[in-house]
């Protein structure tokens, strides 16, 4: 009988009104996370970029030299910043006159040891289009804008729309970005979601200059 009373007591204690075992889960304050450059290591020129690219109307511009991030809204014709190296819209990427090569490396350290950054074919941006407004999608209206896109760098994330919901697959590869001034950056796109698994939050690990 004691056993049963024990179970009764345990049940009553454990079953609080709004649930039990909430400590199993992590609480992430997604809105308060800082965006931009973080974890900068001056000794080896590496760091991490954390960006919010959920807004279809927005380009996020990254200036690797000055460690600066800026945005411009296409719908209200905001002007892009004067100095930037590459920019991200949702998962599309463009460069500021740069060229890109996809390597077979998946580790920034291994790439650094290998050197020979200038080998292989680099690809420049081409004219394409990006979605700027999805709000009319259910009425069959999606608004696009013409824009340069770097097709090689945009391969970092493959979005398979043949099934719903889409399947997102990251390449996991390191991309070499040759800037206009012939300096090189190594970019590893590490995630497209935040800690709460909300899509549109991009984490990039980088080395600049290489």
């Amino acid at each position: 009988m004691r056993k049963l009373l024990g179970i009764i007591a345990l049940t009553l204690i454990m079953t609080s009104c709004d649930g039990i075992f909430s400590s199993l889960y992590d609480v992430v304050e997604t809105t308060s996370l800082p965006f931009g450059f973080k974890e900068i290591n001056e000794s080896d020129n590496s760091g991490t970029l954390y960006l919010d690219t959920r807004d279809y109307a927005k380009w996020t511009y990254i200036n690797l030299r000055d460690k600066a991030v800026d945005t411009a809204n296409m719908l209200n014709n905001s002007v892009e910043p004067q100095d930037w190296d590459f920019a991200i819209h949702r998962y599309d990427v463009k460069t500021n006159g740069g060229m890109v090569r996809q390597t077979d490396f998946i580790s920034l350290d291994e790439l650094r040891q290998y050197g020979h950054y200038d080998e292989g074919n680099f690809t420049a941006d081409t004219l394409g289009r990006v979605i700027v407004d999805m709000s009319g999608m259910m009425n069959g209206v999606i608004e696009y804008r013409e824009s340069n896109i770097n097709k090689v760098l945009s391969r970092w994330l493959n979005v398979d729309l043949s099934t719903m919901p889409p399947i997102y697959t990251m390449s996991g590869k390191i991309y070499l970005l040759r800037l206009e001034d012939d300096t090189y950056a190594a970019l590893l796109f590490a995630d497209f979601m935040n800690e709460a698994s909300v899509k549109g939050y991009i984490t990039i690990r980088y080395i600049y200059p290489l």
């Binding site: 009988m1 056993k3 049963l4 179970i7 009764i8 049940t11 454990m14 079953t15 009104c17 709004d18 649930g19 039990i20 075992f21 909430s22 199993l24 889960y25 992590d26 609480v27 992430v28 959920r54 807004d55 279809y56 999805m134 709000s135 009319g136 999608m137 259910m138 009425n139 069959g140 398979d160 043949s162 099934t163 719903m164 919901p165 399947i167 997102y168 697959t169 990251m170 590490a190 995630d191 497209f192 979601m193 935040n194 800690e195 709460a196 698994s197 899509k199 549109g200 984490t203």
Partner: protein
Amino acid sequence: MIKTQFYTTAVMAVLMLMPAILCAQVSVMTATDIDSLEHHLPEDMKLLETVVITASRTPKLLKDVPIVTRVIEARDFQAVDVSNVQDLLQTELPGIEFRFSMNQQVSLNMQGFGGNAVLFLVDGERMAGETLDNVDYSRLGLDGVERIEIVKGAASSLYGSNAVGGVVNIISKRVEKPWTLNLNTNYGSHNNQLHGAAVSFNKGRWASSTNVRYTSCDAVKMPNSGDFGTIYGNKTFNAKERLVYSHKGLTMTGRAGYFFRERESQQTSHDRYRDFSGGLKAEYDISENDNVMASYAFDQYDKSSFALTSGYDVRNYSNVQHVARTLYYHTFSKQNVLTVGGDYMRDYLMSYQFHNNGFHIQHTADAFAQFDWNITERLNMVSAVRYDYYSLSKLSHFSPKINLMYKFNKVSLRASYADGFRAPTLKEMFMSFDMANIFMIYGNPNLKPETCHNFSAALEYIKNQYNITVMGFYNMISNRITTTWNQALNGMVYDNMAPLTISGLDCSASASWDCGFKVRMSYVFTNVDYHKGGLRLSSTRPHTATARLEYGKQWTHYGFNVALTGRILSAVTCDEYTSLTDLTQTKQVTYPSYTIWKLSLLQHVGRGLDIKAAIDNIFNYIPEYYYSNSPATTGTTFSVGLSVDVEKYFNKITK
């Protein structure tokens, strides 16, 4: 493809009839053995002596229940080698389809009723949580299950909301032996694994049973294109404990359970599902004619997203239900039973689909009464009324029912009217969800409850080893809840639909012979009729059938059972809107017919070893295009398994 399916079905039909021909002679021969007949009742006759609970909420012999109740016992699901309720129901019952809805979430269609209109119970208790209107069926393993009772048709007068199209009640095993220990393992195609253990003891006033189970399956890529391309890999873990104390007419049951599922839905994040359940129940025999029961049940179903890179496991959904219940039975004249009772439920829901990941709480209360009246030896009537109240919607509903059964010779006639309803859920009332920055989905606090007037009539004929049941049903459904496009809000809004009717015919025939053959065939015709411009908006298949042919023998140290099971589903052509926002244009879509058959072999070796092997989809059916309601098969698959009843090696063999 259609020709192949026709021949497959024809061959299988002939196979099904063979035992009747082969055993006819055997039956004549064995019929002379009167002793044998008396001591070896056919399985179906034994089944009729099974005590069931779902149809009337009181224990009653299956043959005396005034509503057609299908019972699937443990030996049935061992024979056909299925390990979860989803596979079992599809194998045994026509008219049931588990299909994928968005994001490979599993949804049920049972003769035109969706998952939110069929009430799933575990030992009479509701299950918390839902995804796209369906409970998590993967919680429902068959370990520790004694039988499953299925009552088709409305049953809100006993069970309240959601019992619109039927009730599926999963009944746990009672511990009867002094001790048992079972270890089992199963391995199949696509690295499909199941490992389980069950231990129980029964000592004096105490009885305990513990079950643990682990399953896993790799991601499976479909060979052809379709609405889904790769089925996510997943793993589950389930543990449950029941402890029973019995003494002098008092029975107290304590239970606790934990369930975990992880789905490899994305490269960098997995979906996780957890359930914590517990409960206490006290039953007391006040006198020979009076019994009382009181119970408390707790069920919490959580969903979270596990980010593989950061290791964060963030909960985005939690449904917590507390249910208190009391029941009182009084028996008049040793045969007429009055049941009165009431429930209270506190329903807490936190969801990412609410504004700012908020939560809502609703209290519901109900009272009901039922009278089971044996008017004459042949005529039985069960009538019930129930009143439900919902605090947030201020909604109340009155649900009556009346069931009649008349028996003569070897025939039972049943007729029934029952009311069913489904109250709007917290999700349907308060959703405010941004669908990927594309559009919003809004709840509607002014929703009316779905209602259903269910009429059915059935004839059951039982003679010796033969059992034939034919049932007709007609459902008048109003205010079914769905989402519609709202141009002003530029989003989807929950709303009530125009009326519809669901009618049809449900037939089954079964037979078993002493020579070891058993056959069961079932067929359902379903017609869903929308009163809306002649459109056929339902993708419910009109014709479905299931079949099972078994042959088994048992000697002292060896036995076997071979089972061939099959499902046949007709094609369905329906109208689908071409746009979610403009309901003026439709297109016709045809979902193809298909049939799938499975061959299972179960061998009993020595005292307690079972060896299982199965070939599923033996005719290698592969959909040319994977629609959401196509079977998620890649063709023929194989599985093998072992199960050991350890206690049998310590017990003396008794003949």
